[in-house]
């Protein structure tokens, strides 16, 4: 099926609808248009956007939305880009790079580049994306009910009827399946054995969750005792009044990373680079970490033990993460979805 024309036409259709409701763009000498997740925008405005506007004497136009919407807009305006820089997951960024929507980031102009953890410096190759935050994914569990020492424990009889698993459509889904596969002795990145295992225990799994906020409520209501979850959501669980633990499975922890990207031919590269550099600076990365918004990719960031407890923090933690390569996710996610729907969601 052809897709690009479909999306372009749909975007044109959506634009027609949006036309009447579009706010008037405000003119400025310099404007930087960024495309970001909707998450924690009040904090980002206070910590990143407003201070940068004062430094650069420019206006920042912030566009938010989910990855699909934002990528579709970048693609629809490929010939005359309206977005200068964007933040995406590594696999979405790789997808955009394959469609020639991105250009390499000139890291020689990033004064804070050398301060980044090695894992964040060039996760896509050719400097097409620069990691600015990452998160660990492990298992949260009720320590008064069970002990979790392995990803395989998710399918144990002790947790039957008391466990939730991330849906394959979420960012946590494939990494959790990957680690379950590792615990089962799978080689490489083949998730089929893990999907089969989940399907075999379908009646024991309470739900396949799509949002960590939903998961926190299920834990609070004692519907579940354990679930794989991203570290960014740990704060929702640790203070819920129940005995909660963050598992350190013997197979290790997995996770994900987000990257900054530069759209191709946007004509605003210098300002976008200045903004990226500002965001990656030790001060800003520290402020974002202390506000519990993002775990730092800048290795110079130092935070208190209390703050670190809520983040994916420290060189050792970062180095130990077993991440699924972005190209593997990108190339396989549709087949994973088909297999998941066929076997698990019978």
């Amino acid at each position: 099926m052809t897709r690009r024309p479909a999306k372009t036409r749909l975007l044109a259709a959506a634009s027609l609808s949006a036309l009447a409701l579009a706010p008037a763009a405000h003119a400025a000498d310099k404007t930087l248009t960024i495309s970001v997740y909707s998450f924690a925008q009040d904090e980002f405005k206070e910590i990143v956007y407003d201070p940068f506007e004062e430094i650069c004497d420019c206006d920042i136009v912030v566009e938010t939305g989910n990855s699909v919407e934002r990528l579709a807009k970048i693609e629809a305006n490929k010939d005359d880009p309206v977005i200068d820089m964007a933040v995406l997951s590594t696999h979405d960024a790789m997808g955009a790079a394959r469609k020639d929507l991105l250009q390499p980031v000139d890291v020689s102009k990033l004064s804070n580049y050398d301060k980044l953890y090695d894992i964040a410096k060039d996760p896509l190759g050719d400097h097409l994306g620069i990691g600015y935050t990452f998160y660990a994914t492990s298992i949260v569990y009720r320590s008064d009910k069970v002990t979790v020492e392995s990803w395989a424990d998710l399918m144990s009889p002790e947790l039957a009827g008391n466990v939730a698993f991330p849906d394959v459509t979420t960012n946590q889904g494939p990494p959790a399946l990957y680690m379950l596969g590792q615990a089962m002795g799978s080689e490489g990145y083949d998730l089929s054995p893990a999907i089969e295992e989940v399907a075999a225990h379908a009646d024991d799994i309470v739900t396949y969750y799509v949002r960590s906020s939903q998961l926190a409520q299920l834990m609070q209501q004692e519907e579940i005792w354990a679930a794989p979850v991203g570290r960014f959501a740990w704060g929702r669980f640790k203070d819920n009044g129940l005995p909660m633990e963050w598992a350190r499975p013997k197979e290790g922890q997995t996770g994900g990373m987000n990257v900054m990207v530069m759209t191709a031919n946007n004509g605003n590269e210098d300002l976008a680079l200045q903004f990226m550099d500002f965001w990656l600076s030790t001060d800003i990365q520290t402020a974002l970490a202390e506000a519990l918004v993002d775990s730092p990719a800048n290795a110079e960031v130092e935070v208190s033990d209390e703050v670190a407890e809520n983040l994916t923090y420290g060189a050792e933690t970062v180095a130990s993460l077993k991440l699924l390569p972005p190209d593997v996710i990108l190339d396989s996610r549709e087949s994973w979805l088909e297999e998941w729907n066929a076997k698990v969601l019978k």
Partner: protein, 275 residues
């Protein structure tokens, strides 16, 4: 009403232009994507969709739940509407306000309330276990039953409102007259109330069926991925597979189902009238 048709047309023009430009055209473009493949115009996307066993299960589940919610809400709706119109005018207003009150609360909040009520430590299980009827709590969440209850609570007011409006237009002595002539309550309903309120049933049935079929939040929260419905599947195709063509197919199927339900209800109403 107007002195000439042109005045009426001129007044309707802004709304017509607005609907055409900002609704019909985008929706037309969206739906046309479902009739394309690599070779151009084709019905292949629909054939591919229904070739999948899982898609057929999702389609039938959506149809079944929407029909069940519409049917049960019609039964409850008739009883409630009849009770409301039988009240004195002062009380009628108060009770009617109570019926419409849930519509003023966000569907998300209403659905989350069910998440608590139907939970293992929720009200329903507390009653069942506390009364000794059950030893262990029932697993109610993330089942078709939970989705059905959530959708019924969400859309029942629409059915009641439609039927109350229809019953208020009935001649006030129609039911007593039928009773005097010896009709039992079933005959009163089948031969008097139903024919006189069929328009309300068509409107209410269409609203409830279509709403249940296209609801996203309630099936997503109370059913989750274990109770996949067409709307949930559509979301999945767009957000994960980035597959707008399949999403267009699902959107078209949902639209056809909605129109078919409306036509079927109208046909039933007309058939009763013709008899």
């Amino acid at each position: 009403m107007f002195e000439d048709k042109r005045t009426g047309l001129a007044l309707a023009l802004p709304a017509a232009v607005f609907a055409a430009a900002l609704f019909l055209l985008p929706v037309g473009i969206l739906l046309s994507e479902g009739f394309r493949n690599a070779d151009g115009w084709s019905l292949a996307p629909y054939v591919e969709f229904f070739a999948s066993g899982r898609n057929r299960v999702v389609f039938l589940r959506t149809l079944k739940l929407a029909a069940l919610v519409a049917g049960v809400s019609a039964v409850i709706g008739y009883a409630t509407a009849f009770a409301i119109v039988s009240l004195p005018p002062a009380s009628r207003g108060r009770v009617f306000a109570l019926v419409t009150l849930p519509l003023m609360i966000s569907p998300v909040a209403r659905t989350y309330a069910w998440l608590v009520i139907l939970g293992r430590t929720g009200f329903v299980n507390q009653v069942l276990v506390g009364s000794g009827l059950l030893d262990t709590p029932l697993r109610l969440l993330f089942t078709e039953t939970a989705v059905f209850i959530g959708l019924l609570q969400l859309f029942l007011p629409l059915m009641i409102i439609s039927l109350v409006s229809a019953m208020e237009n009935m001649p006030r002595d129609a039911v007593p007259a039928a009773r005097v002539l010896g009709a039992n309550w079933f005959q009163v309903f089948a031969r008097v109330i139903l024919p006189l309120t069929r328009e309300g049933l068509v409107i209410g049935g269409t609203l409830v069926f279509t709403g249940s079929m296209t609801a996203y939040i309630t099936p997503a929260i109370l059913g989750g991925a274990k109770v996949l419905m067409l709307e949930t599947l559509l979301y999945q195709r767009v957000t994960v597979a980035n597959d707008f063509a399949s999403a267009s197919v699902i959107a078209m199927i949902l639209m056809v189902m909605a129109f078919s339900a409306n036509l079927l209800l109208k046909r039933l109403a007309t058939a009763r009238r013709a008899r």
